[in-house]
Symmetry: C2
Subunit: 198 residues, 2 copies
DNA sequence: CGAGTCGTTGAACGGAATCAATCGTCGTGG
DNA sequence: CCACGACGATTGATTCCGTTCAACGACTCG
């Protein structure tokens, strides 16, 4: 049960994939909810609007993230979902998922485990972001991500910027901080592998 | 099903409450896991240690937060849980919860809804924290928390500091920012109620 | 009444954001 | 096939805003 993914668990309910142009909407606030999604490429932003029309961004889903799980328990979507980049999303039928969960209680447990893991990782990320110093923030994040045995982590090629986004810092700051950590001897970088020394 | 809380859903599995002195451990990494918890008062920090002994804070649970849900699916705890303040936690028996979920599939669905809501709010908080400017960060958070109809939110008395913690900013900055927003006319404060104007 | 804490404001400093420029790589289309 | 554009990675210089340190009044609780 341990490391199954959202996509694997709900594979039977998968319907199709959708391509979205930048700025295109996957769904709008108030639409009847029929599906949940995972982002395969690009980025999709969930925006809620207050009565006065203020926009409140609830989430920006990146590749690998799931989207609109809460719609499982709601008749309508409570947000707009807008592609901030040209994007591809996988779709999963809400009705089929609910039926699956009801018919196969053990799948419900797996699903709970899935969510519990996600909560854990979100909380860990929040904890990272509560660290003020850029240096310590990066170091903490690296320790979090690194393989516990080898103390290495691989940077998904071409995406130090994505990492900067996760860390909520300017990408320039991340480059500089990594360079400093390396000259301090705290880490090593060859190609796309970062090794941490203690 | 909608707005039930963790405590309500799992009330039948509740065992006792534990008091912890500051610095006391609720459990240690590697202990067999028997319970999950919610924090009633104080604060409990989850810390994982790497092989080299580096500490990685995974989460700091505050009053209202649940704790160690992931232990439902693990034989042991993977973190130390240490009280950072004198604390009280409510305990829920893991075995009873699992049994409940297996026997009452509809409770599993409720539990999933519970987690989905939590994921949503964690993601919203992450989104808030990705806003650099203190002013916009506070404003975004207020819009997020305010009652959609009245555009008001009440500050749980004596806890602007707790709010500053959530926003990951120095509490002095929060005071100043609120003062500025008020003099800008964006918000009003009387007693413990903040009203947002658009 | 004193200790502790929250809320508030002031002043100064420091570090991260920002603006900017360069280099390398990759993909695309002429 | 090469020129061009786009984008990631990197480094420099400057600005600015949030942190930090500090002090004070108000309030609560023992």
């Amino acid at each position: 049960m341990q490391n199954i993914s959202f996509g694997e668990l709900f594979a039977p309910a998968r319907t199709s994939a959708k391509s979205l142009g930048q700025g295109e909407f996957l769904f709008r606030q108030g639409d009847p909810s029929s599906s949940l999604y995972t982002v395969l490429a690009g980025g999709v932003r969930l925006v809620r609007y207050t009565l006065e029309g203020n926009a409140v961004v609830m989430h920006t889903a990146r590749p690998g993230d799931s989207l609109a799980e809460a719609s499982l328990f709601s008749e309508i979507y409570h947000c707009d979902a807008e592609a901030v980049l040209p994007s591809i999303v996988a779709c999963y039928d809400k009705g089929k998922i609910l039926a699956m969960l009801r018919e196969h209680p053990e799948k419900s447990l797996t699903c709970i485990a899935l969510f519990a893991r996600q909560v854990r990782s979100l909380r860990a990320l929040l904890e990272v972001r509560s660290i003020r110093s850029a240096r310590d923030r990066v170091l903490h994040y690296l320790l979090l991500q690194a393989d516990p045995v080898t103390m290495e982590m691989s940077i998904p090629a071409g995406s130090l910027k994505a990492m900067a986004l996760k860390l909520a810092m300017a990408h320039e700051t991340l480059y500089r901080t990594l360079a400093n950590l390396e000259s301090e001897g705290k880490i090593n970088r060859n190609a796309s592998i970062i090794k941490i020394h203690h």
